[in-house]
Subunit: 158 residues, 2 copies
């Protein structure tokens, strides 16, 4: 059921310019989030310049990964709740981040792919919480929590 | 007392490669944090590509700003507590981020300078909390909280 497809590849065009995950943002990071069973996963290998100190990944990059992984996961969850699946021709819901929390557990090594694994919790029909763990290999380097809310219509510029 | 100087311009060389605030990271964002009375300030104008949706700033960029503003503010505060000032020839202390929290209050408009204003709280001699408000003009768009800890010696690669 759509496990090979990323939600960001199917975001509406007006919602596809995010620096973190927008497929139309040429300078962006192009995070892509997919189903992994009932959880979600975003795999990303930071660029060499994404360092905190030499050899370790910048916390702001991890926060960005957790942020977009969270909104993507929320979109996927509500889409599925609405009876849709990624790539079925329907438009996934747009979410914005209400709050973001990151606990940095261990230094995150560079030059390895990072796996953000998300567990989704519905806290309101229009508000979802995503608990994320970011792994470098077997090591959990950061834990994140995103509260994502359905984007108000007023956000979209005419 | 050093209000014109940024702490990042005086970080030790091995600590000056941060993607957010390292002066030696050519691809980085080059955040710079200064005293403003008893508070601290980091002014940054996001790049055009730092969008969430067209016209509004990416949350991960705000998180990054709050992150480096926090560690910079902590370094400044401990430096001053140690009887030093920015640019007096002594090495400022190195900090790492233990946790980061951001509440996104309002959509943050692009194309205007953002002012991150920090209030510093010592919660332990080696651990400081920085409360930050990010303003676009008069509007507080995001509130952040960083817990910054003195960098363990083991972080530095030989």
């Amino acid at each position: 059921m759509g496990t090979d497809k990323s939600i960001q590849d199917y975001y509406p065009e007006d919602y596809a310019w995010c620096y973190g995950c927008g497929r139309l943002n040429e300078e962006g990071l192009h995070f892509k989030t997919r189903w992994q069973g009932e959880q979600t996963v975003t795999v990303y290998t930071p660029r060499p310049e994404h360092s905190a100190i030499p050899g370790f990944v910048y916390g702001g990059l991890l926060a960005s990964l957790i942020d977009c992984h969270g909104t993507g996961s929320a979109s996927m969850a509500l889409h599925r709740k609405n009876g849709q699946e990624i790539g079925d021709g329907t438009e996934p819901p747009r979410f914005v981040t209400a709050s973001l929390k990151v606990d940095f557990m261990k230094p995150t090594p560079q030059d390895v792919p990072l796996n953000a694994i998300g567990t989704i919790e519905e806290i309101h029909p229009k508000k979802w919480k995503i608990h994320t763990e970011v792994f470098a290999g077997d090591i959990c380097c950061a834990k994140g929590e995103v509260v994502a809310a359905v984007m108000p219509a007023s956000f979209i510029q005419s």
